[in-house]
C-alpha cells in the first residue's frame, strides 16, 4: 500500500470476491445436487439451494455405491485411494531420502551415472510411456494390486533433488562431529539428518499425498477388478453408463467425497502445502 486510492481498494476487493465466487461456484452446485433426490435432477435445471436428502444420498454411496453402474461402495474406493496415496507418498519420500543421502554423503564409482539416471525420470511422465509401462507391470503380474498401483509412480527425481539440495545446505561440521564421535552413516542419517529435514518431509508429504490421491490414467489402466478401483476413476465409471441419464445425485455425492480429503489437507496444512509446492518447483 503506497498511496491512498479508495476506489482501487474497492476494485481489488471486488475482483478478489468475484474470483472466490467463480472458484467456489462449481463446488456449490455440486454440493447442492448431492443433497437432492434423483427425480429433481432428471429434467429442467439443477436446483440452486440444498435439498433434504443429504444424509440419505451420502449414506447410499458410501455403503452400496451405484448398483446400476455395476460399481462398488464408495467407501471401498476411498479406502483404495487412501492406500494408494499413502503408499506413493511414503514410498517416494523413503526411497528419495536414502538415494539423496547416498549421493551426497558417499563417493563411489558410477555416482554421476546414478545421478543422471535418476535425473532423466524428471522428463518422462507416465502419460508418455503408458503402453510399455503397462506391459512391464503386466508381465510382473502386478495388475490389480496395490503394488501395481503405486510402485511405478514411486520413483521421482523431484523428491530426490529436493532432499539433495537440502542435504547440501546442512553444515559440514555436523557430519564431521558425528564422525569424530564415532557415529556410522546410518546413525548420522537417523539421529541428525532426519530430524533436521522434518519440515521438508512434512511439506513434501502434503504435495505427494495430493498427487497420489488424484492419479487418474494409471489406476484406470492397472485396475480392471472393481475391488481395486480408486475413487477418481470410479466417478468416471459411474458417468459412463450406457443408454441412461447418469444418477446425478449419487455421482455428485461421490464427487464431493473424492474432493474432500485432498482439499482438507490443503486447507488445514496450508503453510506446509505452500512451502512444499514452491520448494518442489525450484
Amino acid at each position: 500500500m503506497i498511496e491512498r486510492r479508495p476506489w482501487l481498494n474497492v476494485l481489488s476487493h471486488f475482483v478478489l470476491c468475484a474470483g472466490v465466487l467463480v472458484t467456489a461456484l462449481p463446488i456449490w452446485i455440486t454440493f447442492v445436487a448431492s443433497t437432492h433426490p434423483a427425480d429433481s435432477l432428471m429434467s429442467g435445471r439443477a436446483p440452486l439451494w440444498p435439498g433434504a436428502h443429504l444424509f440419505e444420498n451420502y449414506a447410499t454411496v458410501l455403503d452400496s455405491g451405484l448398483r446400476a453402474a455395476g460399481s462398488v461402495p464408495v467407501g471401498m474406493m476411498m479406502w483404495n485411494s487412501l492406500i494408494m496415496a499413502l503408499m506413493i507418498a511414503v514410498g517416494k519420500i523413503v526411497i528419495s531420502i536414502i538415494a539423496a543421502f547416498g549421493i551426497v554423503y558417499f563417493r563411489f564409482p558410477l555416482r554421476r551415472t546414478c545421478f543422471w539416471l535418476i535425473f532423466v525420470t524428471l522428463m518422462l511422465p507416465v502419460e508418455v510411456r503408458i503402453l510399455p509401462t503397462f506391459g512391464v507391470v503386466a508381465s510382473l503380474e502386478m495388475l490389480n494390486s496395490y503394488w501395481g498401483l503405486s510402485v511405478p509412480l514411486i520413483a521421482s527425481a523431484t523428491a530426490t533433488f529436493l532432499f539433495r539440495q537440502f542435504f547440501l545446505t546442512v553444515p559440514e561440521e555436523l557430519a564431521e562431529a558425528a564422525r569424530i564421535d564415532g557415529a556410522g552413516p546410518l546413525k548420522f542419517l537417523f539421529d541428525i539428518l532426519l530430524p533436521l529435514s522434518r519440515t521438508n518431509i512434512a511439506a513434501l508429504f502434503v504435495i505427494l499425498f495430493i498427487f497420489g490421491w488424484n492419479q487418474y490414467l494409471w489406476p484406470l489402466l492397472v485396475t480392471t477388478d472393481e475391488s481395486f478401483y480408486t475413487i477418481v476413476v470410479g466417478i468416471q465409471r459411474m458417468l459412463a453408463v450406457d443408454d441412461a441419464e447418469p444418477a446425478w445425485h449419487l455421482i455428485m455425492a461421490t464427487t464431493m467425497l473424492a474432493m474432500l480429503p485432498p482439499v482438507l489437507v490443503v486447507i488445514c496444512m496450508q503453510r506446509l502445502f505452500i512451502k512444499g509446492l514452491i520448494e518442489q518447483e525450484k
Partner: protein, 293 residues
C-alpha cells in the same frame, strides 16, 4: 557443490541407491526404450508377427491428417489454457498483494482447487454445462445460446479449456503472489514518489521484475495442459465429438489401448517424450538467465 566430509563404505551407498535405481530402470528406462523400439516396428494387435519398418510409423503419423489436426488442437488448447489461467491468476495475485486486510483469507479460498483431481474438475464443469439440466446451460439458453458439447466440437473444446484453467489458476496464483511479495517495496515506493501511478508502476517495474516467475509458470502450464489434462478429456468428452477434443496425450491412449495400433502409439509416445525433453531443457537453459531485466 560437493561435501568435503563423506562417509566411507563400499556397499552402503549401493544399498542406499538400489531401490530408486531399480525402480527407475524397471519402470522408466526400460519402458521408454521399449517405446523407442516399438516405434520402428509394425506389429499386429495380437503380437503374433512383427516387422522392422524403420521410420514408417512416423511417416504414417505425419501424413495422417487426424494426427496433424490433433497437434494443432493441442497447441490451441494448451496456449489458450495457459493464457487464461496465467492472466486470471496474475490479476488476482496483484489484487491480493494490494489489499491490506484479508490476503491470507483470500488465498485460502483461492488455492484449494489445486487439490481437485483434473478428472474431478472435469466432472464439476460437465455437470454445470450438462445440456439437459446444467445450471449454466440454462443461463446460456436464457441468453439465446444453445449449448451442447455432445454435438458441438467448439462447445466441447470450450468446456475442457474452462475446466483445465479453473484448476490451474490456484497454482499460478500462489506463485505469482510469492513473486510479488518478493519484490522490494522500496523500488515501488521510489516510483510512486516520482509520480508513477499504479498502472505505470505495474507496467514498468512490477511486471518486468515478475518475468522469471511468469516464464517458469508458462513452461509449467504448457506441460500441464499437454499431459495432466488427460483426466479431464477422458472423463467428460472422451476426445469427442468427432475428435474435436482429442489432444495428443489422449490420442496416445486411445490409439494404443482402444485402437491397439502398437507401433503408431509408440511413435506418438516418442514424439511426446521429445516434446517434454525439449521443454525441460528449454526451461533449464533459460530459467537461470533471469529473463528480461
Amino acid at each position: 557443490m560437493e561435501k568435503r566430509v563423506v562417509f566411507s563404505g563400499r556397499w552402503v551407498p549401493v544399498l542406499l541407491l538400489a531401490p530408486q535405481v531399480t525402480i527407475t530402470l524397471v519402470f522408466f528406462i526400460w519402458p521408454a526404450s521399449q517405446a523407442l523400439y516399438q516405434s520402428v516396428l509394425l506389429e499386429d494387435a495380437f503380437g503374433l508377427s512383427r516387422k522392422f519398418v524403420w521410420l514408417d510409423n512416423f511417416r504414417i503419423l505425419f501424413a495422417d491428417p487426424l494426427y496433424l489436426d490433433s497437434f494443432g488442437r493441442t497447441a490451441f488448447f494448451s496456449s489458450v489454457t495457459a493464457a487464461l489461467s496465467l492472466g486470471l491468476a496474475l490479476v488476482l495475485a496483484v489484487m491480493a498483494d494490494r489489499v491490506i486486510k484479508g490476503t491470507a483469507l483470500y488465498r485460502t479460498f483461492l488455492i484449494w482447487p489445486y487439490a481437485v483431481a483434473p478428472a474431478v474438475a472435469g466432472v464439476l464443469w460437465f455437470f454445470m454445462f450438462n445440456p439437459s439440466i446444467g445450471t449454466l446451460t440454462y443461463l446460456l439458453r436464457f441468453l439465446g445460446y444453445q449449448w451442447n458439447h455432445y454435438l458441438n466440437g467448439t462447445d466441447a473444446m470450450a468446456l475442457i479449456i474452462l475446466a483445465a484453467s479453473w484448476k490451474q489458476v490456484s497454482y499460478n496464483f500462489l506463485f505469482f503472489l510469492a513473486g510479488l511479495q518478493a519484490i522490494p517495496r522500496s523500488l515501488v515506493e521510489a516510483a510512486a514518489i516520482d509520480g508513477a501511478g499504479p498502472f505505470k508502476r505495474f507496467r514498468t517495474i512490477i511486471f518486468p521484475l515478475l518475468s522469471p516467475t511468469t516464464f517458469f509458470l508458462l513452461v509449467v502450464n504448457i506441460v500441464y495442459a499437454f499431459f495432466d489434462t488427460f483426466g479431464i478429456v477422458h472423463a467428460i468428452t472422451s476426445g469427442g465429438p468427432a475428435q474435436a477434443t482429442t489432444i495428443l496425450v489422449y490420442k496416445v491412449y486411445s490409439d494404443g489401448f482402444i485402437g491397439l495400433d502398437l507401433g503408431g502409439s509408440a511413435a506418438q509416445s516418442v514424439i511426446l517424450m521429445a516434446v517434454v525433453i525439449a521443454l525441460t531443457v528449454f526451461q533449464f537453459r533459460y530459467i537461470e538467465r533471469k529473463v528480461a531485466y
